[in-house]
Amino acid sequence: MSDKPGGIDIPMNERTNEEWLADLRGPDKDQAITDLREILVRGLSYSLSTRTRGDIDSLVEDFAQDALVKILANLDTFRGESKLTTWAQKIAIRVAYTELRRKRWQDIALEDLLPEDSGPDFTPAILTDPEAGPEQQATQQMILETVMRLIQENLTERQKTAIQAVMGGGMPLEVVAERMGTNRNALYKMIHDARKRLKRELHAEGLTTEDIMAAFDNA
């Protein structure tokens, strides 16, 4: 056991899952929690150091603490299909990323990502691949115009807002979900429902997946 912060001989995955569970629930849980926190801090420090600018030490400590609270509250849901430490780090990564995304996007409103009314000048022709031959360009334009019409006819404003924010604005799902009063999973399903609906409508108009793929191959 080492108490060196960032040391290389910290207790890593020495316990079995059963031992972790027993220790985290038992009379010596303080030591087990300390050991688990060290693992979370080390994992977060490494994975965030390559993805986040600036001093991350205090952030990592906060994320590890928040994750520990969740982990300890959810020990009963651990099914033992992975190592407990992998499961715990999964939760820590989710906690960290959720918070980092929230902070990064906190000053950007959903409305900022929506296009201004494009009016009659909008034309999918500008999207066709200039390298494609005239026939392929015509097919691309026809498909894009059809998709645009089907979107207007079949999707709700809520679906269109979500799609524009995620696909156009690059806003993370969970941030969009929070602004729209839903959650990440429900938002994914809302967009999936929209894609399925449009795929069905395209098929009904005689456009298959293969047609679309072929038209936009390398485009």
Binding site: N13, R94, R195, K196, K199, L202
Partner: protein, 81 residues
């Protein structure tokens, strides 16, 4: 509201690759630790867990977290490659 032009193109590609059966972020999160361990053991989780693989390919947020978890596990593993 009309979607802007680039989104329309991305959406068209996304529609083409849409499957009736896709898992959401919650199910992906449920299994991603098993997926990561299999990956690090040199197994082929993409074949064993195709719905997780498909979700990771489609969802940038889950993909980011998967890659971060992969790095974190490598950094805390007793038996690094």
């Amino acid at each position: 509201m009309e979607l802007n032009a680039e989104v329309l193109k991305k959406m068209t590609r996304a529609i083409a690759s849409t499957r009736d059966e896709e898992i959401g972020c919650d199910d992906c999160f449920e299994f991603v630790d098993i997926f990561v361990e299999a990956k690090l053991q040199g197994k082929n989780p993409e074949e064993a867990m195709p719905l997780v693989e498909a979700h990771l390919n489609r969802c940038a947020n889950c993909q980011d977290e998967f890659e971060a978890l992969l790095d974190a596990i490598k950094a805390t593993s007793d038996d690094p490659d």
